[in-house]
Symmetry: C2
Subunit: 481 residues, 2 copies
């Protein structure tokens, strides 16, 4: 039965939700506080977003709309990153090391948030049953009476703005970390809610193409300068530029602002950035002019009230950007939400309840993983032990695929397995891996012994690997049984 679906927030998650609703024949209205980002005066100005890494969950959710060309239109504007490239100094020398994301060669896709958003809005424009309202601020909601009030901010005199009353059957709040829908939802449902600002601020930098119009560093990587407390990263854009981000504790930013020594700081910490990627003048200018922004992490539960209201995306679970999953999780919210709405067509309250119940542990898991992944990106990637473990995990992944072995990273990034199940599987595998590491030690001794007797180094390596895989396979069968 067609319903009036009101969506608050015309970002990528809200827009995708509008598409899912529109495809099902509902009457859809989208309310957005800001201007249409496709309007000419806006397009120049959009920069306050960390670049996105689109991965399987996001792509899958785009495909599941049922619109045949949507995912392809989005994918056309992405740029593949096969792995990380780590930039460090070792014994005083500047070294770059690449680390593939996936033993089977799959990539992350760098993309521009605005581009994705535009593609989604363009597809919405083509639908008869969708209407946009920009410059509308949500003032109040009554989820029992199914009425919302929006302030019209297009008027010149803000004091004289008049509120409009909007009836709805279902309100979907996709209005970001500082969600107004969530704020009003809390008045109707006892919601557990937690927000935390981590002690990192971020500042964005633009790295232009070279004079001949080429990338300044190898483009098919997510570049990382890991410095433990601080981190600098760069993601490629289609126009041969990079978008870079500096992460630093608040005190670090304050120190750099006070001392003015940002170039000196970069010289010391981030080799190869100044002047190869950005001139000292540009670095100083952008550091001073661009915002130094906080990072918030939000958990809450439940996400819905009755049959009439639900929050998705950052409104429900804003996360720090270190796993590259914020947007992907938001797009996946839309797919999962509409799966439940489709499953209970005559009981929307049940659909929303089940959605909250299933999605809460998943969102909280990826939220925690994202917090934990800062350490991996900014510290662990430099460490030999991390690299050894990564190598071992990837080998196991390649050699025993049928037993369902995969790294946590690969399950998060390249599969649609529920986040909470990813974590369960990862814990199980970690136990096995610890066992394996013991066996490796033993095998090493055995192999070394065998090697000295036969002289066949290649065969020794193969034998070693084979024995590791056999043990891991056995261990996994045991823990599954």
């Amino acid at each position: 039965m067609p319903q009036k679906v009101v969506i608050v927030g015309a970002g990528p998650v809200g827009s995708l939700a509008a598409l899912y609703a529109a495809v099902r024949g509902h009457e859809v209205e989208i309310y957005e506080l800001r201007s249409d980002l496709r309007s000419p005066e806006i397009t120049q100005n959009i920069s306050q977003s960390i670049n996105l890494a689109l991965s399987e969950r996001g792509i899958h959710s785009l495909r599941q709309t049922g619109l045949p060309d949507l995912a392809d239109a989005v994918l056309k504007e992405t740029f593949p990153m096969h792995g990380r490239m780590i930039h460090v100094r070792k014994q005083g020398k500047y070294v770059r090391q690449s680390q593939a994301y996936d033993a089977r060669g799959r990539s992350l896709l760098a993309m521009d948030r605005t581009g994705l958003n535009q593609t989604l809005l363009d597809h919405l424009d083509a639908m008869q049953n969708v209407r946009f309202f920009f410059h509308r601020k949500l003032v109040s909601v009554d989820f029992r009476q199914r009425l919302a009030w929006f302030e019209n901010r297009t008027k010149n005199d803000p004091a004289k703005s008049d509120d409009i009353e909007v009836p709805f059957d279902l309100m979907i709040g996709a209005d970001g970390a500082h969600s107004a829908v969530r704020y009003h939802l809390m008045k109707f449902v006892p919601m557990s809610y937690q927000q935390e600002y981590i002690d990192k601020l971020w500042c964005q930098f633009h790295v232009p193409p070279t004079a001949d119009g080429d990338y300044r560093i190898p483009p098919n990587y997510l570049h990382i300068w890991p410095q433990d407390d601080a981190m600098f990263i760069a993601l490629p854009n289609l126009d041969k530029s990079f978008t870079s981000t500096l992460f630093l504790p608040r005190s670090g930013f304050e120190h750099l602002v006070a001392s003015g020594k940002v170039v000196e700081y970069f010289d010391e910490k981030f080799p190869g950035v100044v002047p190869d990627l950005i001139t000292d003048e540009q670095l100083r200018k952008q550091f001073n002019e661009h915002d130094h922004l906080p990072l918030i992490s939000i958990k809450c539960s439940p996400y819905h009230y009755g049959s009439t209201g639900v929050i998705i995306g950052d409104a429900a679970h804003a996360m720090v950007p270190f796993y590259g999953q914020g947007m992907n999780a938001g797009l996946e919210d839309v797919r999962v939400l509409f799966e439940f709405l489709d499953r209970y067509p005559n009981d929307q309250a049940k659909a929303l309840t089940e959605y909250s119940k299933q999605r809460t542990p998943d969102a909280q898991t990826i939220n925690d993983l994202a917090l934990g992944n800062y350490r991996e990106m900014a510290s662990d990637v430099k460490k030999p032990l991390y690299l050894l473990r990564k190598w071992l995990e990837e080998k196991l992944y390649l050699y025993i695929p049928n037993a369902g072995w995969a790294t946590q990273y690969s399950r998060v990034t390249f599969s649609n397995m529920r986040y909470s199940e990813v974590q369960d599987a990862a814990s199980r595998q970690a136990r096995i891996l610890n066992g394996v590491v013991c066996v490796v030690a033993l095998s090493f001794i055995g192999s070394a012994f065998w090697l000295t007797r036969t002289g066949g180094v290649q065969q020794a390596k193969k034998g070693l690997l084979r024995s590791i895989c056999l043990v891991a396979q056995q261990a996994q069968k045991l823990t599954q049984g």
Copy 2:
């Protein structure tokens, strides 16, 4: 230097803050969403509050205003509770047991929230530099420009309400758990924030005096019917009635609503309530008519922005009611806040920063203690081991006062020691007490031996106690040194 101080919320905490500010000569304005609770149409209707237990921190904060008669005017309307009275069934028989709150005879003071509030408002009325604005809803705040906007809700047509703009030097938010000041403060300061609804709802009941106008049960107690998952309590009022509260998990309320068997439930769980305190008809009626309300627990940090905004009371740290400290902590906030403002008269930003820094761990401690104290009230009070420990702690308290020994309960309730220091001291004492318990066991054996030889029971008991105290004193000296 006199300032314009705007206080949001005219409850007890906001009113006391207004008094502290007014006494210092500031220009004070109080904005309150609701009506003046002294207006005739309101007075009939106020019941949605758990009765208060006023204790040392609250009284001390009232005294520190500098208004000589304020504390006495409040104390006149209180009723002392010397201890708990526990109502249980033992081997099928209804038993009452009293447990004193304090080994030195100090009492909690039962009082009516509205009465306290009225007394404070009356004192504010007498000040020249205080102005009240009721029916004003905080719409927006700019803590940088020091401007607030309030909606005037006294008009008949809510659509035509016009906002008023209010400048201020300092805004104090005392607007409760669902604080609008906190909501706007969050837009100016990166605030860690956590709210949690515990799985208990509460419902209030009125227990009238007897036909001869007397109390139905001994009045000088906080009465508890502890049933682990459920709890019923009763606090005396000056008019010889009691205010009772039922605490029960949400599912329990739902079950009683669905089955209608609330009288049967009380008969089974809470002996002596129906019909001695309340008739079955009244119990059913009040259970159906009174709200079943949730309990929220809130932590956040920091409490302030720059030199212009600060939140206090429930707005900063709403807690569950099981330690009887919510209001007392809120009143103490006022005293501590103004101590810092007095200490740094020329640097208000510093004063607010120091206030946040000192008060955050204290508020979070009492918040946690309150959550933990449900178990003590609803379960532990029935258990012999709890009573033994309580007895031992109180004896130590009486016999070694100079060494600064006191129970956690007595420090929270009868002192002004910082909550966080109470907890530190309590952990230290717990370690000692565990040692003492070992020594008690040994002493028992020794005493029993001595007893059999001399036949002096009284002397044996004294000797036992003396040796316990000696050991405890030694242990405490050791851990302090």
